[in-house]
Point group: C2
Chain length 208, copies 2
């Protein structure tokens, strides 16, 4: 797993250690889980001394924040791509599926994304009211598909409900005990679709 290059190939100055540290953290995260994500382990994985990260991050929390931030950016990009690839009424479902697939592919990163925010008692980046947060993308998509933008409370409730549903499914889908359901339905994607359908959150999915 270690990315440490052989002694002769890596110069004394790294070039972009900040980047390398965040990459190393992500590698560690998915290989060993969130509890293995110590500053020292990240430095080790990146092939530098334990003190090196302090030239790029104030402390461990700042490194974790950077990892979480990158996670939210990737998730936002994947949701945006999914939306672009699926014009029409299915766009909201596409967003939900993209969200859950991201969590399936990066379960430990996904946890860090929320935990880093909880530690700071803040909303995570992807849920903030920035114009390009994932949360706002969901809200905007709802408006594009007919939600009334002037019914502010209702709109926000619908967005929260969709977000909660996706988050709940993202965490539950990790349990191996649901494998049999996925198989019976013909695959993971169908399982996600079906659960979203039962939630009735995504208008494209329930024809009634």
């Amino acid at each position: 797993m270690s990315e440490a290059k052989s002694a002769e190939s890596r110069p004394y100055h790294h070039g972009d250690l900040r980047r390398a540290l965040v990459d190393a953290a992500r590698r560690l995260l998915e290989a060993e889980g969130p509890s293995a994500l110590s500053l020292r382990a990240v430095a080790r994985e990146a092939g530098v001394s334990p003190a090196a990260p302090y030239h790029h991050f104030k402390d461990k929390a700042e490194l974790l924040d950077a990892v979480a931030q990158e996670g939210w950016e990737i998730l936002g990009q994947q949701m945006s791509d999914a939306k672009a690839a699926d014009q029409g009424l299915h766009q909201l479902t596409a967003l939900g599926i993209a969200y859950v697939c991201f969590a399936r592919d990066n379960p430990a990163l996904y946890r860090v994304m929320y935990d880093a925010a909880r530690d700071k008692e803040m909303l995570p980046a992807g849920m903030q009211d920035n114009k390009d947060s994932a949360y706002c993308m969901v809200r905007d998509t709802m408006i594009e598909h007919g939600a009334d933008p002037t019914a502010e409370v209702d709109l926000e409730l619908a967005t929260v409900a969709a977000w909660c549903g996706a988050h709940g499914l993202a965490e539950m889908a990790g349990f191996k005990q649901f494998e049999h359901l996925k198989e019976q339905l013909g695959g993971e994607r169908a399982f996600f679709d079906a659960v979203f359908g039962h939630m009735g959150l995504f208008p494209s999915m329930h024809g009634h």
Copy 2:
């Protein structure tokens, strides 16, 4: 916070140290959060030496399991009470509200309940297929309210969907940023109701 009794009042033999340790763990958990839950801290909180817990638990994981187990029992009891108190079509909603209220009142315990299971790569106690798990209570209630018990896949999907929705809301409701929504709706309970309503999971809530 410490429960350690004064020297003269506590006998050498504790009486029920196992119980006291689980209680101490829960106290610590809600006061300091999941990351503060070390074996030593629990022993300290209970007023005994760091080695004492080993007479009652094989290791730290076993203590955490006991804490999680108790959490699931309390949650199950509260859901059962809520169901009993609300005959009729609102029973499913009552279960959902009870679930979310438990998570609101015991956020750190709630996390431990899932994390302890994830560490063992198991379904948590409350989600197992025991006759009296919380998960089965939800499924049974769905049947009582008209779900077709012979449509097994559909029934399980509906239960999973409800469970995911409740879990998602339970975790999101902890963010302070939703306070304004709760206020606008006239309280936390109304907020929970409204989100469940938007999910369309709970038949009693959506009249359409």
